[in-house]
């Protein structure tokens, strides 16, 4: 095997491929993350429709594949086949580039997000700054798409949603600053902007930042959680596509594949922003109580979780397959579901085997593999929690009016985040 592939694989290297200067593995990580996010977006699409349906006392998609499992694929194919209409005298180039900007902004954030101490594309030492900068580029995609559609309502919708994103970006930035402030409360007195550094700071201080100086970390976290919902135009702040007012906001004139790019960008931005919240406040890839229960026995128990979760999923799918009606036309769906259950069961088995094999303390490949899986599992579990919150918000909350939304952004969130920042600083100086 050529040197540059193997050089990164030996266990002694504990640096992300980007900072190890290994372009090949950096590319590998980019592809893995891109595929991972796409699969996550597809699952998110299905889960959102089903969960929203069950909130609203209905079944959600049931017809395309067993329990609507093939519905996202059907949607994707439909959107690809659908005609891609460009409105008359719209600005072709700008109309085409707008979703690209949105998508670019949503996905470049992932180069910075740490799934593990070395499982990130690159560990920039300005990680958070890069993240804030790129997420502010997303606004441009929306503004330009509104303008390029060359009609009245999308323009107003675009201006509204970009004004909303810009004002909540300020509150979000300040909440992030108070989290970074907490990283600097160590012996050396200098914090770090790099995302991996932040999680390691939480590890050293032995507390997730959401629980540090209890009310303060939590308030900053809540402000970030609200700002991130507004940043991605979701749930109570989804004013841009408020049907009852401005038809469908900035992406009214888009159709077919171009429209699906906007949806992909929205979901990717949701996952990106919640993974930043997880990294900053919920201790990124750390499993719960890493310092409290760090005996190897506990490590082993916690490393069984991935296998158990997949096992549970496999069991549920298998029961559903058994409970499906037995008429002839359901046969294919039953088989399909059973195969899916078998696949999940196989993954569960694989994870359990790795967990058991990796128990040996030496730095064998299995142990490194098991650690990697644990990191990614706990990270993804926390992000999934946030995703469910997004859906829950959408089911229960009515929509804010635009002026209320701006009032909250500037008059409530900004002062509180400033206050939290100042108080955290004071408390930090006193205690360290």
């Amino acid at each position: 095997m050529p040197n540059f592939i193997m050089s990164y694989l030996d266990p002694k290297v504990t640096v992300t491929p980007g900072s190890a200067g290994n372009q090949f593995w950096a590319l590998m990580y980019v592809l893995i993350i891109f595929a991972g996010v796409s699969v996550a977006v597809i699952c998110m699409n299905w889960i959102e429709r089903k969960a929203l349906a069950h909130f609203q006392v209905r079944l959600g998609p049931m017809r395309v594949g067993p329990h609507g499992l093939l519905q996202p694929i059907a949607d994707a194919v439909k959107l690809m086949i659908k005609e891609d209409i460009i409105p008359a005298e719209a600005d072709q180039f700008v109309f085409w580039i707008a979703p690209m900007i949105g998508l670019l902004a949503a996905f470049t954030v992932y180069t910075v997000i740490p799934f593990g101490p070395s499982e990130a594309v690159s560990d920039m030492n300005i990680g958070i700054l890069f993240m804030l900068g790129v997420s502010s580029l997303g606004v441009l995609g929306i503004v330009v798409s509104g303008w390029a559609s060359n009609s009245h309502y999308p323009l107003i919708g675009a201006l509204r949603s970009s004004a909303q994103m810009v004002s909540y970006e300020v509150a979000m930035g300040l909440a992030v600053v108070s989290a970074i402030l907490m990283t600097s409360l160590n012996a050396s007195g200098t914090g770090t902007l790099s995302m991996i550094g932040i999680v390691q700071a939480q590890q050293q201080q032995g507390v997730w930042f959401i629980f540090k100086f209890f009310p303060l970390g939590f308030i900053a976290f809540v402000i970030f959680a609200i700002a991130m919902v507004a940043e991605t135009n979701r749930a109570p702040f989804d004013l841009a596509e408020a049907e009852s007012e401005l038809t469908a906001g900035y992406h009214t004139e888009y159709s077919g594949l171009r429209w699906s790019l906007f949806m992909l960008a929205e979901y990717a931005a949701m996952i990106a922003v919640s993974s930043i919240a997880v990294t900053l406040w919920l201790g990124g890839w750390m499993r719960p109580f890493p310092n409290l229960l760090h005996a190897p026995a506990w490590d082993f128990i916690f490393s069984l979780f991935p296998g158990l979760t997949f096992g549970a999923l496999a069991a549920i799918t298998f029961i559903e397959a058994a409970r499906m009606p037995t008429q002839s036309f359901f046969k294919i769906q039953r088989i399909g579901l059973a195969v899916f259950a078998a696949l999940l069961g196989f993954i569960a088995l694989l994870l359990l085997v790795i967990a058991v094999a990796g128990r040996s303390a030496d730095m064998s490949v299995a142990a490194r593999f098991r650690e990697g899986i644990d990191y990614v599992y706990w990270f993804v579990l926390k992000v999934a929690g946030f995703m469910y919150l997004f859906i829950w918000y959408r089911a229960t909350w009515p929509r804010y009016r635009f002026d209320q939304l701006m009032k909250i952004g500037w008059k409530v969130m900004l002062p509180i985040s400033l206050g939290v920042l100042v108080v955290t600083a004071i408390v930090g100086v006193i205690f360290s």
Binding site: Q56, S244, E245
Partner: protein
């Protein structure tokens, strides 16, 4: 576009005539007037049917509105003049199609009063039960669509699931769900089917916790409060001046409900309260309607348990020829006071039949309530007035 702004826009700026600009005073009209006149409807997702509202906006604030109606005008009152009294009965259900039973009750009672015939007690009890069930169904439909306009998607599915139970009872009783044609002049057409009382009792038991579900979802919902408190405020005096009736009037603090003020059917035999609001905003109207649903359940309970035996049809001749004269009779429909003014010339067909629909009158209050609010509130206010275009246009 108002002429001033439109011609200024399409004239190329380089040849802007400077004549009106004597150098001393800047042309004020440009500075502050960017009034916009936009059209909401008739095909707008939030105008509950084919209502067209012309909004005069200053930026986002509403300066004034003008409702254009008539898109659903079918000339029901003219048709009535060449239909016999019994033939016209089904037309009445098509006016306020969300509360068809109440329309039928109003019409039948008006004709009975004209002929001074009294429906038997059992028929009156059946009429009260069905009308109150219809009131709950109409309020459910209002809550679902109103919450959806303001952005809450979930109540719509809860309310429609529960409304289904009421429609099942109607279907078992008179064969139709929406345009029920449940009553006849002089009483009821159909005897109650075998399990009628049991079904109604089951519904009451089923619905009691459900209404708490709606309240749990919305009443203390921060964003719901923010979107409804102090929105579309109208005072009691303005309501009376505009002739506004029903939940709008009661939410502004005026305790006026025809079921208590001018008791008809068997309402005098039941005890129930009339919920009223305090400051007449969208939230109070929401609370008034929710309490009304609870009161309707109380009425139904008393009516079902006390339903008397006896005939269901009064002594009414086969061909109805009311004596010469005119009559105005009004009942408390879910949206407000629904009145029938019938002039009879002794023949089998009414000389003139005028309907006073509550939605039509309540819609006048839209302009007063919406002035100074934002566009998003116009939708919330239209929802809270609870208009049905079939009744507005007739």
């Amino acid at each position: 576009m108002s002429d001033r702004t439109s011609d200024a826009l399409n004239r190329a700026p380089s040849d802007v005539d400077r004549s009106n600009l004597d150098l001393g005073t800047p042309d004020k009209t440009y500075l502050d007037s960017n009034e916009l006149i936009i059209n909401m409807g008739p095909q707008h997702p939030a105008t509950h049917g084919v209502l067209r509202v012309i909004l005069k906006l200053d930026g986002e604030k509403v300066l004034g509105t003008e409702c254009v109606i008539g898109y659903l005008h079918r000339g029901v009152e003219k048709i009535a003049e060449n239909r016999t009294y019994t033939m016209f009965n089904p037309y009445v259900d098509r006016m306020d199609y969300c509360a068809a039973v109440s329309n039928g009750l109003g019409y039948c009672e008006a004709v009975e009063k004209l002929m001074n015939v009294e429906a038997p007690a059992r028929a009156q009890y059946i009429r009260v039960i069905l009308t109150e069930l219809q009131r709950i169904a109409s309020h459910q439909l209002w809550l679902g669509t109103h919450a959806l306009d303001i952005g809450a998607m979930t109540p719509l599915f809860y309310t429609f699931r529960d409304r289904e139970e009421i429609l099942k009872i109607f279907e078992r009783y008179c064969g139709a769900r929406l345009t029920t044609h449940a009553f006849r002049i002089g009483g009821c057409q159909y005897e109650t089917y075998a399990g009628f009382e049991k079904d109604v009792k089951n519904f009451l038991a089923f619905f009691a916790p459900k209404i708490d579900e709606y309240e749990a979802l919305l009443t203390t919902n921060r964003i719901w409060l923010e979107r409804t408190k102090n929105v579309g405020v109208i005072s009691g005096a303005d309501c009376i001046a505009l002739g506004v009736t029903g939940p709008l009037l009661r939410a502004s603090g005026v305790k006026w409900d025809l079921r208590k003020a001018q008791p008809y059917a068997a309402y005098s035999e039941f005890d129930f309260e009339i919920p009223t609001g305090v400051n007449g905003d969208t939230y109070d109207r929401y609370m008034v309607r929710m309490k009304e649903m609870r009161q309707s359940m109380r009425i139904i309970e008393q009516a079902v348990s006390g339903i008397p035996e006896g005939p269901i049809m009064g002594k009414v001749p086969k061909v109805i020829k009311p004596p010469v004269g005119e009559i105005y009779h009004s009942i408390e429909a879910p949206k407000g006071e629904l009145g029938y003014f019938i002039v009879s010339d002794g023949s089998t067909q009414p000389y003139r039949l005028r309907v006073r629909p509550p939605s039509f009158v309540n819609l006048q209050a839209l302009d007063l309530m919406v002035r100074g609010l934002l566009v998003a509130d116009v939708i919330a206010v239209i929802g809270t007035i609870d208009i049905v275009l079939g009744e507005v246009d007739r």
